[in-house]
Symmetry: C2
Subunit: 190 residues, 2 copies
Amino acid sequence: MKILEDRILKEATVLPGNIIKIDGLLNHRVDTVLIREIAKEFKRIFSSTNPDIILTAEASGIALATLTANEFNLPFIFARKAKNSKMQGALYKSDIYSYTYEQKVTLFVEQKWLNKNSRVLIIDDFLAKGEALRGLTDIVHQAEAEVVGIGIAVEKAFQGGGDTFRNLGYNIHSLAMIESLDNGVIKFRK
Amino acid sequence: MKILEDRILKEATVLPGNIIKIDGLLNHRVDTVLIREIAKEFKRIFSSTNPDIILTAEASGIALATLTANEFNLPFIFARKAKNSKMQGALYKSDIYSYTYEQKVTLFVEQKWLNKNSRVLIIDDFLAKGEALRGLTDIVHQAEAEVVGIGIAVEKAFQGGGDTFRNLGYNIHSLAMIESLDNGVIKFRK
């Protein structure tokens, strides 16, 4: 998606350790005008899959999921990363490793919100090694629901998570695919 | 706001300890059609205050902030509740107590995203004792910016946080104000 790639080239910072920081667009300050364009693109790509619910993980996925769900006139669920005092019903859980926070994290979804045979569109802001996605797809499978699509804003393709899910047969689309960050230069996959 | 009050009466669960759970609308499964209506109401209420940025706290405020910011064609910032490896710039911080998670939490905002003299509209899903709001207003003051308005979806008025901020002179509007939850019955403030 050209407007997203252009904004990344213009505004992203590359940090040591192959980290790309685009916190002015997606995951700290959020540009909702850009996110609206991303949401429309996800609608265009995935409308033929007929999702009935959208799933993301807190916190950075929520803005994207909100506008995508709004385009589809669907609700969305955000998997929580901590159990709180209000979560008293039965839960689906999946343990993942968060490279951003450098610790094990458990994703939680209350079972009542994810129905058997539901058609789930997973939306997230970033895909690197695929840990969040492994947890989200695991939860969908626990619910005996179906992943009809996976929409990602920015994939760090060189970290392999996206290709792993493609090889597993998932219908995955990333709007900007970063091929390398060598020497601080952002190169996209053609 | 009648449609929000009606949905709360219809779908909320009252748990022991004066806890109200409306996780099918706002903060686990999110009804983006309802949130869009809430966002339009915030736009109507606060457009005369001319905000130039919207501020919320992760994670439950993000969906509301996304659609409200989109109505205003503004970006929003979500204060993070944990520092991650990408946050390498100077930070505003404020310590609050989270009753939902029963622990101290620090709110973080990268200084570069919140400008001096900025006109900040704070948006959040819930207001009870006002801890999150105390942290968010503190961060705005640290930045020498101005809080032009505070928009809350659901205020538990009997817990006093909202009135504290009203008495301090803030321009605060809550779309549903719960007066009591005694015996599990939801009563709104007239």
